[in-house]
């Protein structure tokens, strides 16, 4: 509402202006979403829930008042104090928010809706006043108007600030004339009609004369339709008895008719105005005819059935007012220019539309041709490939004559996946005689052999063909990415035995035999470690594009379908003593570094040489839990950024990545390596690092063996010989004895000399303190189940745990819960059963002693193999019962003893 529209400068500003922006002021950051919090009256954060109760939570997660739920009423009932019946009121189930102002049962004194500021809406009031004219009691709104709230809505405040006054319309101020025009036009155009407010009309006419030229007027206020809700159960259009009419005597011409209440209106509307003899007084059926009244025909009212509708849906009486229910204030004005035929059908609250509804034009569907049949006809496919005799041009013509390309055979894929030979075959061309086709004719195996022969003799990757050298690209143009992949493929396939895997391996290009043959050729090259295998295997007669495509495919396929042995072997370190062909080839680049580290450790030069600092990404949640900012915000990497494949942990097996297509069957562990623990520390460290090449390790091996031997000599405590002896003597089978002999090979002479002196009792203490005494834990563990498996575990990984209990404690535990140390005598008695079994051993041990000595020197080499067999057989072990140890059992225990030369 720009008040001053005359000049440009003379404008009125409303509202408070924004503060001017400072130049160097830092931009205010918008409040982030998580800081836009809502608190309740007690300062607690509220959680947004939805639209109800202001959108925020009520109670505890919209359920009850507190986390604990309802506080239960304690039930008390006694003779004196009877439990009173508790009547739950709705308020009992409400919380404070329900009682608050916006709750469902507010307890505070608030302005009810009746008195709220919305009542200040003048237009609505006007409308209500209009409707109140016809209300049961005129001036119904008087009471409401008496009490008006002080508040007014923000919109009205704003409007008044902008110069609006009550009773005015909204819009630019107008001169008199246009305003009138607008009003008339508006009344015509608007969808609803301004109801007449009696005086207004005359007022307008009066104003017209006095209006000066320079005075502008606010536009007329629009009185909206008062949509009063229907309260009764009457039908639409029903109007009750109008006491005003009755009392004013306006119904003199017609008696109040309960059944046709509009009849009076109707008569007023149509032509019966002449009889507007408005006399005050009471008129009606019950009051008879007054003295001043002319009519007396209806003194004795005779109601006739003709005045009632007797038929539903009767034809209109002809006056066009059949069923007329529209309120008079809506229709009185319009009656002048409206077709009276409509009036009878307009219900209260409805108005006649000014503009007729746009008619929907419905277009008729297209007419079908006369000979149209709703059946689809598929053209028969012309198989061009069959027509080998026809020329290519004809075949092409045939193909195109079908209007669209015949989809290629599914196994061949798109047109671009065919090579030139296949396309030629499709087109019916004769196969060209060339070197490629000769290779294709060979069986894959033969071809492979041929090629391997050639690779062995001639190192040059180029072909004999002269044109091949021009066409076939060297290894140079290969993309770097695929070059990396090629390396990977090479690493995967290298060394895998060609004869077995060629027959077993997956054939990815089985549908295309020639391609498969080329692929196998490539694999054969890979197995021999030929880096140029890829180029050699490709068909030189193919185009450059086809070749590059096939190159990629082959490399991908070879990585995807790599032999399972390589995926497995990458997880194992190579046995250092056995030079196997199956060993994994791992790059030796870290060899030097490892040696340097080892040397640094031996020289006690810890620090830079032994330290390695890597970038490591902790999980974001972990940082949060540690109250530490994420060192790499925004990084999605967790752990070490460059994934180093850990080859050496057996437990990686348990999480074999699913991406690997070839579900590797669990292969047995490499023979000859029982565990990482059965080699000396120097050797072990080598294993921990990347395994060295065979040539280097040869030399080191011997030296480390020497070291190991030295260590063995230093070692004092080891399982006593008599234990071994006892077992060897008992075992009759050759197999078990040999395996146990293998383990005892590392023993020395002095240990043997000792053994004779040792007593069975001592055996325990020695065994307990010795490094290989994992099994002894099972000997004197009262928790029988606990020791067996842990002994096995310990054997494989990591430092062991000490034996669970010494004999004394075990005995004590067995004898009862005596909380003090046992006396030696008690100890002996409680240990009687054990001694028995050791006597057994003692007897047996002497028998085997000599035999063992004899074997001692020769067994060293085969030692590890036997240990491995021993360890593999551990799995079949069963729980031991230490009551009566049989010889077999002792043997089993022996097997689980770790080899003595370790620590």
């Amino acid at each position: 509402m720009a008040a001053g529209g005359d000049s440009d400068e003379d404008f009125v500003s409303f509202g408070t202006p924004l503060e001017p922006l400072e130049e160097d002021e830092p931009l205010k950051r918008p409040v982030p979403l998580h800081e836009q919090t809502v608190k309740d009256e007690k300062g607690r954060y509220q959680r947004f829930h939805g639209a109800f109760t202001g959108g925020f939570s009520a109670g505890y997660f919209n359920t009850v008042g507190s986390k604990e739920g309802w506080s239960p009423a304690t039930f008390v009932s006694s003779r004196q104090q009877k439990a009173e019946k508790h009547h739950a009121r709705p308020e009992d189930f409400m919380d404070e928010e329900d009682f608050s102002e916006h709750g469902i049962a507010p307890r505070e004194i608030t302005t009810s809706q009746e008195f709220s500021s919305s009542r200040r809406d003048e237009a609505a009031e006007k409308a209500r006043a209009v409707s109140a004219q016809a209300a049961l009691i005129p001036g119904d709104t008087l009471l409401e108007e008496l009490i008006t709230p002080a508040r007014s809505s923000v919109g009205i405040d704003l409007l008044t600030k902008m110069g609006w006054k009550e009773g005015q319309g909204i819009g630019p101020r107008l001169k008199r004339k246009p305003r009138r025009q607008l009003k008339d036009g508006g009344s015509r155009k608007s969808s609803y009609v301004l109801p007449p407010t009696g005086s207004e009309e005359s007022e307008d006419e009066d104003d017209e004369e006095f209006a000066p030229e320079n005075v502008t007027f606010a536009p007329k206020d629009v009185t909206p339709v008062d949509f009063t809700p229907r309260l009764g159960v009457q039908g639409l259009g029903y109007r009750g008895l109008d006491p005003g009419r009755a009392l004013l005597g306006r119904a003199a011409d017609e008696h109040v008719n309960l059944f046709r209440p509009q009849s009076e209106t109707r008569s007023r509307l149509f032509g019966e105005r002449g009889r507007s003899s408005r006399r005050a007084g009471v008129a009606g059926q019950a009051f008879g005819v007054g003295a001043l009244e002319d009519e007396d025909e209806d003194v004795y009212h005779r109601d006739s059935m003709s005045r009632y509708d007797t038929v539903l849906g009767e034809e209109e009486p002809g006056d066009g007012l059949y069923g007329w229910t529209a309120p008079e204030q809506y229709t009185r004005r319009r009656e002048r220019n409206k077709d009276a035929a409509y009036l009878g059908k307009i219900l209260e609250g409805f108005t006649l539309a000014q503009n007729p509804l746009e008619e929907k034009t419905i277009f008729p569907p297209p007419t079908l041709p006369r000979d149209y049949r709703p059946v689809h006809y598929f053209r028969p496919k012309v198989d061009v490939t069959r027509l080998s005799g026809v020329s290519s041009a004809l075949a092409e013509a045939l193909k195109t004559s079908k209007g669209h390309m015949v989809p290629e055979e599914p196994q061949q894929g798109g047109r671009h996946q065919l090579d030139s030979g296949q396309r030629g075959a499709l087109l019916g061309e004769d196969v060209l005689k060339g070197p490629a086709s000769v290779l294709d004719l060979l069986r894959p195996d033969d071809r492979q052999r041929l090629l391997s022969l050639r690779n062995a003799s001639a190192h040059k990757p180029c072909r004999s063909d002269s044109q091949d050298s021009s066409q076939a690209p060297g290894p140079g143009p290969v993309l770097p990415a695929s070059g990396l992949q090629q390396q990977e493929a090479l690493a995967a396939w290298r060394g895998s035995s060609s004869s077995s895997s060629s027959s077993q391996s997956f054939k990815p290009f089985e549908k295309n035999p020639s391609k498969q043959a080329r692929y196998e050729l490539y694999l054969g090259g890979l197995r021999q470690g030929d880096t140029g295998a890829l180029e050699q295997s490709l068909d030189p007669s193919m185009t450059e594009w086809e070749r590059s495509r096939e190159r990629d495919e082959f490399v991908r396929a070879s990585i995807l379908y790599r032999p399972s042995s390589s995926s497995l072997s990458s997880r194992f370190t190579r046995g250092e003593l056995q030079e196997d062909e199956d060993a994994v080839e791992v790059s030796r680049d870290q060899e030097g570094e490892r040696d340097a580290k080892q040397a640094a450790v031996q020289m006690k030069m810890f620090g830079k040489l032994t330290r390695e600092t890597l970038e490591w990404h902790p999980d974001r949640l972990l940082c949060k839990r540690f109250n530490v900012p994420d060192p790499y915000p925004g990084s999605s990497v967790v752990g070490l950024p460059k994934v180093k494949r850990d080859k050496f942990s057996v437990f990686n097996f348990l999480t074999v990545p699913e991406s690997r297509e070839t579900a590797a069957p669990p292969q047995p562990l490499e023979p000859g390596k029982k565990s990482r623990w059965d080699v000396s520390e120097q050797e072990k460290e080598k294993k921990d690092e990347d395994p060295p090449s065979q040539a280097v390790s040869e030399g080191e091996e011997q030296s480390s063996d020497k070291k190991a031997e030295e260590e063995e000599e230093e070692e004092e405590q080891r399982p006593p010989m008599d234990l071994f002896k006892a077992i060897f003597a008992s075992s009759s089978s050759e197999k078990s004895s040999s395996s146990s002999e293998g383990e005892s090979d590392g023993e020395e002479g002095d240990a043997k000399e000792e053994e004779g002196r040792k007593e069975a009792v001592k055996l325990f203490s020695v065994a307990a303190s010795s490094s290989s005494s994992a099994v002894t834990s099972s000997l004197h563990s009262e928790a029988a189940g606990s020791s067996q498996k842990s002994a096995q575990d310990e054997e494989e990984f990591g430092p062991k745990l000490p034996p669970p209990l010494p004999p004394a404690a075990a005995a004590a535990a067995r004898g009862g819960a005596a909380p003090r140390y046992l006396l030696p005598e008690e100890e002996k008695t409680s240990r009687r059963s054990k001694e028995k079994k050791h006597k057994n051993k003692k007897q047996q041990k002497h028998k085997k002693e000599k035999k063992k000595k004899k074997h001692k020197k020769h067994k060293h080499k085969g030692k590890r193999k036997k240990e491995a067999s021993g360890s593999s057989s551990e799995d079949s072990k069963e729980d031991e019962d230490d009551v009566q140890p049989s010889t077999d059992e002792l043997l089993r225990r022996l097997k689980s003893i770790r080899p003595p030369q370790i620590w």
Partner: protein, 318 residues
Amino acid sequence: MMAFPQAKPQPPQLPQHLLRTIDCHQGAVRAVRFNVDGNYLLSCGSDKSLKLWSVGRGTLLKTYSGHGYEVLDADSSYDSSQVCSCSSDKTVILWDVATGQVSRKLRGHAGKVNCVQFNEEASVILSGSIDGTVRCWDTRSRKYQPIQVLDEARDSISSLKVAQHELLTGSVDGRVRRYDLRMGQLHVDFISSPITCVCFSQDGQCTLSSSLDSTVRLLDKSTGEMLGEYTGHKMKGYKLDCCLSNKDTHVLSCSEDGHVYCWDLVEGSLSLKLPVGKAVVQSLSFHPIETCLLTAMEGRVQVWGAQPEEAEDDTLAT
């Protein structure tokens, strides 16, 4: 101003007097641990039970049973309201101290779990296992998946310690790894021999690591340089503990010869060889504040103090 002579600095005392022996009756005691304030101790038994004792009186307060195999390590939270323990049954269990109920049982390790630690707020449990991984379990969420699995080690994790934002792990592959969460770095120190136990010093500047070459090494945390080397004990086959005294004055280590060796940290000289028993001293724990040491040998836990306690002599006899 009166100048009183300064009190002579007392030579650091060592826990050389046996205060009491607790017979735990739970098989071999695999590990013994003080709680945060040192008033209670936890003993991990090979009979699958975890027991809580009063250090001062030597009385059994609670037995926590729920593990399926021998308990290997335990740790108590900062408020002593929770205890976590790990076991050979591949699980880590979070216990409610007061009720003795299992709060949660965390499965995921592929092998027995050697060591377990809370972080400072007990919001994360870190467990190191024989499968070579350290798993970080969230105690706050309902998820039973670890937050992160640290699988950098190439062999079994034998020991693990947490200090503020750092995680120290010792592995059998002969490396001490320090994960710095704040810096986002992993420092790997190569110690060649399988690590049995690692510790932070109290000041957080050094790491102590014992390895199976019967050596305890004190390394500078930031550079990895060796500050001290302590030998003389025997640690060749068993996973034994080492620790620093409460004031970082001494280095202590278990030994397989039945002693606890105690070296001066700076000089590296052996200052005490504490005879505990005949068998292997498996575990030890130093009191966080006082000069008090716990040792575990076989089925017994022994409490050692700097001053002999006459009143407790009778408990010795039992």
